[in-house]
Point group: C2
Chain length 196, copies 2
């Protein structure tokens, strides 16, 4: 149910269309929460039906139309309720570690391929998150700048600090995954050598 709150978090900064939101998701927030257009548009409509956002029809050229969504007071209330409420954690369901637990049933070469893939996957994510941290530090994150433009001076430090903090967490997770998979590669070698 977090998609709704991710949308509210973005819209609270200022009104946006579904299309704009889609872009935000594919850039900044998308590195914490992925959402495709096919999920965003219907969710916005549902949110509008429930009164948490208000869609404003805007003409664009002759016949073009776009719908700009604003957060309503009810949406504001809902957002803060979410912020105050405990998060519900999903039950663990981890395909990589599941496979790792049964790696003795694979060829050593397949085991290595799997672990290398794991490293590559997390390195790609790591690069994204590190890049976002670099943008935050350089004052170049579009999402953060948009946020800061409506943030009173007294809260800017916290806004920047928490955003950085969130991405740091992702960076640390990625590094942990990479270190683990590297140890896995050593393990495959050691076991393969042992049976030569």
């Amino acid at each position: 149910m977090s998609l709704r709150y991710a949308l509210l978090a973005l819209l609270r900064v200022g009104p946006l269309s579904g299309y704009d939101l889609q872009k935000q998701f594919s850039l900044s927030v998308g590195h914490l929460w992925h959402a495709p257009g096919s999920q965003i548009y219907p969710e916005l409509r549902r949110m509008e039906a429930e009164g948490v956002v208000l869609g404003e029809e805007q003409a664009r050229g002759e016949k073009g139309m776009r719908r700009i969504y604003h957060v309503t007071p009810e949406g504001e209330r809902l957002y803060h309720e979410w912020m105050r409420s405990p998060l519900d954690y999903l039950r663990v369901r981890d395909p990589a570690h599941l496979r790792a637990a049964y790696l003795e049933t694979a060829d050593p070469e397949d085991a290595r391929r799997f672990l290398r893939g794991h490293i590559e996957e997390w390195q790609a994510e790591l690069a994204q998150w590190e890049a976002e941290i670099a943008r935050i530090d350089a004052g170049e994150s579009p999402m953060l700048l948009r946020r800061l433009s409506v943030t009173p001076e007294a809260e800017r430090e916290a806004t920047i600090a928490y955003k950085r903090f969130a991405y740091e967490g992702m960076v640390e997770r990625a590094r942990t995954e990479i270190a683990w998979a590297r140890r896995g590669l050593d393990l495959v070698d050691r076991l393969a050598a042992g049976r030569g």
Copy 2:
């Protein structure tokens, strides 16, 4: 689609009923992959319809019945195909880090509550995974013993090593999450102090 492979991994060791599988999931494998009965039973039926397992009807008492599932050669093939194929990683969708990125919009006390909850959540998981590692080391893991009982001597070391390796990864992830949230608590304090 990993549920199917988790089921195959368990059934390859020896035939089990849906009920037995459910128990395995709530114990050992369940710490890597959660699955409730309402998902297991239908999936077994689908797998049987597709010929990857075979259900053997067994009488139990006067009218009681249970269905014991065996992996077929096709199931064996499918399992190894999975082991050889690259994993598909899910797009990131992390409610905790999403919330962390917007923590300046919460009360400091709510922020702390959230972070403490994060620590508790991961500490609970950590305890499970550490307990499983302790059982592996003590030779008391029921799942591992079941596996070893059908594993030739030459592969026992690898079987144990990979199982431990998988759980180590989960332990490291939990420790990373806990360390991150603790830093978050410090950050909340620092920011709250800064604004008195």
